[in-house]
Structures are given as C-alpha cells and as structure tokens.
Symmetry: C2
Subunit: 197 residues, 2 copies
C-alpha cells in the first residue's frame, strides 16, 4: 500500500515499530512510513547517527535477539544484532557500565525462515531499521533534546537511513521497551554473553 | 540424569545434537554426553580446534540463526552465532568463496525467552557447543582424516570444550545438515548479510 500518511499517522506507526510490529517487507509499518518525504520533520543529531564506519566488520558483536512471529510456527519474524566498539566493551568489562560517549547499534532485520534438518531456522534478510544509543551518564544533553535522558541518547532509523531519525521523543518512543531493563542501565545485557564473562 | 553412557550411546547422542535436539541444559543430549570421560576416544585435530584467540571480540560476526522450540510459542530453543576472520571475509567478498585455511566458528547457545513489550524475544545463554569448519578446497586432507572432505574440515565441540571433538566422521555427522547448502559451498550464506553486500 502506498497511501500517503500524515504526521499523525507517522507517529502512530513509530509506536508500532518501537513496540514490535511485524517486520515483513510487504506490510510493515516501517516500510509504509518510508513513503513520507525523506527526512520530513525529522531530527538529525550527528552524535546519534548510525556509524559511518563499517561497524559490522569493525565493531564487536554483543548478541542477537530473535522475536517470535505472530504465528509462532513460522519461526522468528525479526532478528536483532547488537554491536559496540571494542574499547567500550573493554571498559564495560572493567567498570561494569559503558563509558560516556559509547555508542551501541542494534540492527533490526526482517527474517526468512527455512525448515531445515536442524529445525525451523530463522535468519536475517533485509534491514528493517537500526536503533542507536549513546551513553550520557550525567544527562548533559537531557535539557537540550527530546532524544536524550535516562543516561542515554536514543534514536531509531528506518531501513538504511543513517541520519534522519523517526524518534521524536525517547520517553514515549523508546522507554516503553527499555524500562523493564532499568536495573541493567536500560540494556538487555542478559542477551550479551560477552559482557557476562 | 547422570547415568553412564557407552560409546554407542555417545554416537547416538552425537546424531541427536547434530540433527537439532533440544538444547535445554537439564535434559539435552549435549550435556548428558559430557559425562563420558573427557576426551575419551575423541579426535584431536589442532587445525580444527576452537580458536585460542577471543574470536568473539576479534573476529567478524557473520550472522545468527534462531532455531524454533519444539513448542513454538516458547520462542527459540537455540541461538547460533557465526564468526570468521576479517581477512577471510574480505577474501570472500573479493572472490566469492573462502580461501583455503579460513576457519568458521559457530557458537550454539541454549536460550532464554522473555515476553517483552517488543514480543517474545529469545537470546543466548549457556554455550551448548561449537561447530568449526576449515576450508580445504583441494581436499588435501580427505584421505588422511574422517573429519575432512567436500572441501572442508568439520568438527563439533560440546560445551566449552575446545580440542576434543565428538565428531568422528563428517559425512555421517555433519553433511546431513549441510548437504542442502551444497550450492553455496555447504554454508548457509543466505543468513550472512555481510557476505551479500
């Protein structure tokens, strides 16, 4: 469907994305939202941009999450892969928390599922979008931007977009999913075996 | 259960592992098989050992596979994470295949599943074991070892074991799962977004 969507529609869809709607290409809100004019009314915060370097090769993979399909027997509908820089990982292992400025990137992939000898196996296909978080333990930017607070900067980028985030307010857009991880600095660190060593 | 298991039992269990049995710690064949004497009757092939360096930090993450639980609504029962060295990845991107000697490591994790705002999310917990493959395009070792052939060396290591493989014959132990990927050099490269760029 290529129907035009207004600003209210975009915000509703943002909610759907952040709260875990299906990531199938044909019908996902992420894809529909992209029919908005590129970057229209969206915040650009260079500090929260998707890294310009090739983080998938150069950074450290922390862990993956699979999100079950609405029809469970179809396997996973999303596969998430999380990365941080090696220095940040080392600092975390020393101090038990990420240092200020540490950037964490989460790829959100649509999946394909195959019925293999090993079982019903799901794996990443197209990129649906990316979450970026940047540590700011003293909340130095919380007064200046609705994307910063609770010790982090927060942004979600649709598809392959790297600069124009669709996040407009981290409290309404991001905390819903991260609040349950408050005890671990809003990160689901239990899914990162490297950080538990 | 800590009942002793004989050699035949171990081989049967190997089959179960390779063909995708449950990876829950309490009852998985992988864990039961570890009650065998350490390394008993097992092949040690240094070239196929789990890397001594910290590949999870130093190597490149290629992709993840989630394997659906026997009760699908429980999410994924296994999470796999695959790594290769950066030089090998670069060579693959240049040539379309891995160079001889390239080592690929696949972590097989038992999982935990949480019912989060974002959906039913599964993530890695304990290491169930690791698969190692080493490229040998000319099959130079196929005559000397039952772990080499079809262009690769093949070995599976239980739990945190790094040297004593329980693989005794790659054709019966490994090809059952990899034969369907024959067209892509026995690798499920469709799950590795990096290699498709």
């Amino acid at each position: 469907m290529k129907k035009p969507v207004g600003r209210t529609g975009a915000l509703v869809m943002l909610g759907l994305i952040v709260f875990g709607a299906s990531a199938r290409a044909e019908d996902s809100p992420a894809v529909e939202a992209m029919h908005l004019g590129e970057g229209e009314g969206r915040i650009v915060d260079p500090e929260l941009a998707v890294p310009s370097e090739n983080y998938r090769e150069e950074w450290v993979f922390l862990g993956a999450f699979s999100v079950l399909a609405d029809e469970p027997e179809e396997g996973a509908k999303e596969m998430h892969a999380v990365y941080a820089e090696q220095e940040a990982v080392r600092a975390y292992l020393d101090a038990g928390s990420f240092p200020d400025g540490a950037k964490i990137v989460k790829d959100v992939f649509e999946t394909e599922t195959a019925y293999l000898t090993t079982g019903t196996a799901s794996y990443a296909r197209e990129l649906a979008g990316r979450f970026v978080m940047v540590k700011d333990s003293q909340n130095t930017k919380a007064d200046q931007s609705p994307l910063w607070g609770h010790g982090w900067g927060w942004a979600f980028y649709e598809g392959t977009e790297t600069r124009h985030t669709i996040t407009t307010d981290y409290e309404s857009d991001c905390l819903g999913c991260h609040q349950p991880a408050q005890e671990t600095d809003y990160l689901y660190t239990q899914g990162y075996p490297l950080l538990a060593r």
